[in-house]
Amino acid sequence: MLDSILFYFFAGVAVLSAALMVTRRNALHSAVCLVSTLLAIAGIFLQLRAEFLFITQIILYVGGIMVLFIFVIMLVRLDAPIHQIRFRMQRFVAFLVVLALALEGVVILLLAHKLPGNGLLIQGSAPADKLPPNSEALAKSLFSDYLLPFEIASVLLLVAMVGAVVMAKSRKRTSES
């Protein structure tokens, strides 16, 4: 019961703020709505007993990426795009997509009793103490089974970082000379 309430709360917040994020004219309001979406999704991760993903979502997306987003938004001029209507061409496509999603929602509500398990109620997840500790399990598989992909990804990130530094540096030098 509690699981159902929490799930629908987080899911509702996520969907609602995602919709708000797309429709806000003000870029900073969009960013705030995106933060709320990300936090709601973190809540769903926690409900799935994936606490490491939960905190990674918060530290990386909300604490890191969104802070940089907001930083950039504050540095650009916000008034120009507020007075424009953007994406006029995509209205038809957007309408179709929304129609499809709404249909899907109606179908799910109608067929709820035929779904496996308890219908729209979430079945209680396994208690945390019966599952293996999430962060340890993740670290184990990352550093034993998937060591090579992990290392490749880290080298890729390093290359990207060095590239970013070099690009920032060279631009400065040309502007000075």
Binding site: V32, I59, L68, S135
Partner: protein, 463 residues
């Protein structure tokens, strides 16, 4: 609410399933709820008194008396300040973004209070049970408080505010990295993220991690000062340049919320440092067993001694009301001392001793950490913004990375090659310090070269 009482209540009212769920929830979680309510209720009061201590200390360092009017030695000053802030007019600037302006201080406050949920203030005084990601939760959630700062600065629609917010963002991004790397050093030594297990690891290894990773502690100290926006890194709210930084347009209760959030954040970083580096709730020399009784009685005796000192000072108060108030404080001290000492006499209450003493030592260490913050605030001049950025990126982050490496090497040497642990620590710390000296000299050389090349220093963030 005990189990039987809750059940009786449920039967008597023959509750609907929803109410039954609520009662079940209360039955399972009442300890956590009580601790959470205690924290939420106590933090504003504690923050107020931290401010009082800070003002007194500042006055002492500047050869003044500090607040003396409200209560004896200004002991009621925080209450007076709180009342003043609550009844002040709450102004929202005309062109401000009203909703975000209203909401931003709440984010700051809520993030700081929520992150306290995973801290163990003693072996038994905690909100969340030993969660698997404990220390990460504290750090991650407390870093959300910066959203409040940034949004508040933006929503105020004022130049001072937005520059304060920008500085705060840049500072956060720079120093959180260094702080995180410092924490990794301690986590390497403890081998777990659970708050309780980190302290237990320090008890098992018979040493606080500050002695095994001194450089990491120092890095965390600097990074935590910068993260809490305190002097000498209080650039986001530098009075002489930015009025009050991101808080410029705030007044009354909203301003108080920001203020509380900031002080709550200080308590959070101090608690993290205490847990990771200063042995949490362990008393000094926790493995020396003949000290068990003397050190165990010490907290009660100290608090009782404080009460005796209050009585001694009460005779010197100029006004009769203050004389009475001093006696009241003394009686409170005696009451707390009694709570600490009675379990030693009454054996059925013995179970409470570790919890009480643990909370005492933990809070003492947290206060000590905050006290160091205050010293630094009143002794060091403020950094310039480009100096702050240089310190963060050119010295602190490389130092923290080298230190993670050094701590790993020290652990490897002592476990695989059978080196003496202290020898390994000394060798690797010397290596880290040598690298840091090299970094500082390199940076000095760069700085002098840059300043001779261009007379105007480039400072893209200072605004």
């Amino acid at each position: 609410m005990s189990y039987a009482a809750a059940q009786a209540l449920a039967c008597a009212l023959s509750l609907s399933p929803a109410m039954q769920a609520v009662v079940d929830f209360l039955k399972t979680w009442w300890v956590e709820l009580v601790c959470g309510v205690v924290i939420v209720a106590a933090v504003p009061l504690v923050a107020g008194y931290v401010v009082l201590v800070e003002r007194k200390l500042m006055a002492d360092m500047q050869a003044r008396l500090g607040p003396m009017r409200v209560g004896p030695h200004g002991l009621l000053q925080p209450i007076a300040d709180a009342v003043k802030l609550l009844i002040k007019e709450d102004i929202i600037p005309r062109d401000a973004d009203a909703f975000i302006f209203w909401f931003a201080p709440v984010i700051s406050m809520v993030a700081a209070l929520t992150s306290m949920g995973a801290i163990y203030f003693g072996p038994s005084f905690r909100v969340a049970q030993d969660i698997n990601i404990g220390i990460l939760f504290v750090i991650g959630v407390s870093s959300l408080g910066f959203l409040g700062v940034i949004l508040g600065g933006w929503a105020s629609n004022s130049h001072y505010s937005i520059i304060g917010a920008l500085r705060s963002t840049a500072q956060l991004v720079s120093y959180e990295t260094a702080g995180g790397l410092a924490i990794i050093s301690a986590l390497l030594l403890s081998g777990t993220l659970r708050v309780r297990a980190i302290v237990d690891a320090q008890a098992d290894q018979h040493v606080w991690f500050i002695f095994l990773a001194p450089v990491a502690f120092f890095t965390y100290l600097v990074a935590s000062i910068a993260e809490t926006n305190r002097a000498p890194f209080d650039l986001p709210e530098a009075e002489s340049e930015l009025v009050a930084g991101y808080m410029t347009e705030y007044s009354g209760f909203r301003w108080a919320l920001y203020f509380l959030g900031e002080y709550a954040n200080m308590i959070v970083v101090a608690s993290v440092a205490t847990t990771l580096f200063l042995g949490g709730w362990l008393r000094p020399f926790s493995n020396v067993h003949w000290l068990d009784i003397p050190m165990g009685v010490l907290p009660g005796l100290l608090i009782g001694g404080l009460g005796v000192y209050c009585i001694y000072r009460a005779g010197k108060q100029p006004v009769k009301v203050q004389f009475g108030f001093m006696w009241a404080v003394a009686l409170c001290c005696f009451g707390v001392a009694l709570i600490y000492l009675v379990p030693w006499v009454v054996s059925p209450l013995r179970f409470a001793i570790p919890g009480l003493n643990g909370a005492f030592w933990f809070l003492l260490k947290v206060s000590g950490y905050i006290y160091v913050f205050m010293w630094l605030r009143f002794t060091l001049p403020r950094y310039r913004f480009d100096q702050l950025m240089h310190l963060g990126w050119y010295i602190l982050i490389p130092l923290a990375i080298v230190n993670v490496f050094s701590v790993g090497v020290a652990m490897f040497l002592s476990s695989e090659f059978g080196w003496n642990r202290w020898l390994a620590v000394i060798v690797t710390t010397a290596f880290t310090l040598a690298v840091s000296v090299f970094l500082v000299r390199l940076h000095d050389k760069h700085a002098t070269a840059a300043s001779s090349a261009s007379a105007v220093p480039s400072d893209s963030y200072a605004g």
